[in-house]
């Protein structure tokens, strides 16, 4: 699993697990300064690690404490309250996140998988492939707000003149694309050459091998990458802030050129609200968003762990 996380943007090359080597357990003189120093360092390192894990639990505890109280069915079905109204929910924000992430998927998945096929199957060592791979890594490291700035420039300033779900979806697709490409390439490359050779031996063309052998075999890895991309996109705020905007209504599909809410932008907007209901909804929306993101991450881990290609 760490391999795919690594490939998905943490940048390093996957490494094989090595046998565990422990220090010899023969005679340990606890009075020896060297042993004491070593033991002390061990305690410090373990303590630091536990401390590093603490924020996750603190975030979750706070979300459950603050957001759990207002969690109800109403949250998922109703439009957000204004400062005057009580009640309400963030149904339109869920709609918006679902729509824009799905739209991002529709753009980024076919695009990304095709690029990955080129990189892994056709262009393996070519200079162009090296350039494409490098470009993809560059896109991975690009701050997410710049994807928003780009979509803002092209669609909000340019084509449509105001925020729209289309601009938001494109911004999310740009963020998902490199994750999809890098994980899919890794998954495709890990398909054993033997399987492909067998298919070629039976008279398959290269593209048939790809469609009938390589992609099905690599599918769990590709899906895991997609899950990582979805989890990331669903939580993004900066690229949606000025591309999709914010709205108090369910989306009016007869007027597609109007702002669309998303969970993340709603959290940002309501975090600083003075209306109590809006503030508590910010926490509840954050709880829902984090649960969704963690669930998608876990599904990704589950898919890869069940895959026959999983290396351990």
């Amino acid at each position: 699993m760490s391999d795919l996380y690594a490939v998905a943007g943490l940048g390093s090359q996957p490494v094989a697990e090595q046998p565990r080597v422990n220090p010899p357990q023969l005679e340990r003189n606890l009075r020896s300064v060297r042993n004491l120093v070593s033991a002390a360092l061990s305690v410090i390192a373990v303590l630091l690690s536990m401390l590093a894990a603490l924020p996750l639990f603190s975030v979750l505890a706070k979300l459950i404490a603050e957001g759990g109280a207002s969690l109800s069915l109403q949250c998922f079905t109703e439009e957000p309250p204004t400062v005057m109204t009580a009640g309400g929910g963030f149904g339109n924000a869920i709609e918006g996140t679902a729509y824009m992430v799905s739209f991002g998927c529709l753009l980024a998945i076919p695009f990304g998988v095709m690029v990955a096929i080129y990189l892994a199957e056709y262009g393996l060592k070519r200079r162009l492939a090296v350039v494409i791979r490098f470009t993809t890594k560059v896109l991975t490291g690009m701050p997410s707000i710049l994807a928003g700035v780009f979509a803002f420039g092209v669609f909000v300033l340019g084509v449509f003149g105001r925020p729209s779900p289309f601009a938001g979806g494109v911004a999310l697709a740009i963020l998902m694309l490199p994750t999809v490409i890098l994980t899919a390439e890794e998954a495709i490359r890990s398909v054993p050459a033997k399987m492909k050779h067998a298919a070629v031996g039976m008279g398959c063309t290269a593209s048939q091998v790809t469609w009938k052998v390589t992609l099905p075999t690599a599918m769990p890895g590709i899906l895991t990458g997609v899950m990582l991309a979805i989890a990331r996109a669903a939580g993004e705020t900066a690229p949606l802030l000025f591309t999709a905007g914010f709205s108090f209504y369910f989306f009016d599909w007869s007027e597609p050129n109007s702002p669309m809410s998303s969970l993340s932008v709603l959290i940002y907007q309501f975090a600083s609200s003075f209306a109590e209901r809006q503030q508590s909804l910010a926490w509840t929306a954050a709880l829902v968003l984090v649960c969704f993101v963690l669930a998608v991450n876990l599904i990704g881990q589950f898919i890869i762990s069940r895959s026959p290609m999983s290396r351990r």
């Binding site: 894990a53 979300l63 560059v138 420039g153 490409i181 900066a238 954050a286």
Partner: protein, 313 residues
């Protein structure tokens, strides 16, 4: 006859249609591949062309000017560049210590394997929490916690508000998973032979780690820190919510600041004219800083891998 032949056996040569569609498919993957490069170029061109009026107007002095005054159309981003670098460096100082500790703990047999796995997953999940949620948590948990903590050291609560310190701490949490994941990979790929040799010479566990494992993995660990730096530079929402959005040049940890990304998030929706162009110029600067850092980080890691593989073979 040939029909019979095909029905009887599994294999046959590809038909003309299959060869054509094969060629078509190959070219379309090629097209998508080239489109990735096109996308990056489009991003550079779009932001660059919007920034052009400000580049002409302010030139490189933009980078050294402290004023951001939409009334007088006087724009400079020195405080934002400073805030971006300062917050990221502070975050890295914290995240490197903790991230490296975790990387060592989950790779050097301190814990049972299942617990290693749990800790590793928990740290990975830290990376999954959205930035805006960290911002919310920072406002309502980290700042109040800092207030009571610093009160012990005699800092009055009124001095502790949105500022560099809470921003950098939350940023540290956000980049810690990157350091841990990449540093762990570097540590794990240190050849077992070296550790065996160290233990054979009578080294304690930490003498082995500090004397053999970390020096061998040093390039990779350094690469991890540089990559995390690249991440920290581009983080937006949590910082925009915590840093105070004030164009201040100060070393003071409790002074508010601003970052390039937070400036963009706060000002783009309402900007127009020269201010918008100046913001696009700021976006170009952010893009180049992050790209440079990321490229350096990737090169270091490539080098680290080559060295280790070289040593192995």
């Amino acid at each position: 006859m040939s029909h019979e032949y095909q029905r009887m056996t599994l294999s046959r040569p590809p038909t003309r249609g299959e060869v054509l569609s094969d060629r078509w498919f190959r070219w379309s993957t090629f097209g998508f591949g080239v489109a990735v490069i096109g996308l990056l170029i489009a991003i550079l061109l779009e932001i660059g062309s919007q920034a052009l009026p400000a580049m002409r107007e302010f030139g490189l002095g933009f980078l050294a000017d402290r004023e951001w005054d939409p009334n007088k159309n006087d724009f400079g981003i020195l405080p934002q560049i400073w805030g971006t670098l300062y917050s990221s460096v502070l975050a890295l100082l914290v995240a490197s210590v903790f991230g490296l500790a975790v990387a060592i703990v989950i790779s050097q047999n301190f814990l049972p394997r299942w617990l290693e796995q749990v800790l590793k997953n928990v740290i990975e999940l830290l990376a999954a929490i959205p930035s805006v949620v960290y911002g919310l948590w920072g406002i309502f948990v980290v700042i109040p916690a800092l207030r009571s903590l610093l009160a012990w050291f005699g800092v009055p609560p009124s001095e502790v508000s949105s500022s560099m310190l809470p921003a950098a701490l939350v940023l540290a949490i956000m980049v810690l998973p990157t350091i841990t994941a990449v540093a762990r990979d570097a540590i794990v790929s240190v050849p077992v032979k070296l550790k065996e040799a160290a233990y054979g010479l009578g080294a304690t566990r930490w003498e082995c780690i500090l004397g053999v494992v970390l020096p061998t993995a040093a390039t990779g660990i350094f690469g991890a820190i540089v990559l995390a730096f690249g991440r920290a530079l581009g983080e937006t929402m949590a910082l925009a919510m915590l840093i105070g959005n004030s164009n201040v040049l100060s070393l003071d940890l409790l002074s508010p600041g601003n970052t390039l990304a937070a400036l963009l998030a706060n000002s783009i929706p309402e900007a127009g004219g020269m201010q918008l162009s100046a913001l696009m110029y700021a976006a170009v600067v952010l893009l180049f800083i992050t790209l440079a850092v990321n490229i350096v980080g990737s090169l270091i890691l490539m080098r680290a891998n080559r060295n280790l593989l070289g040593g192995h073979a």
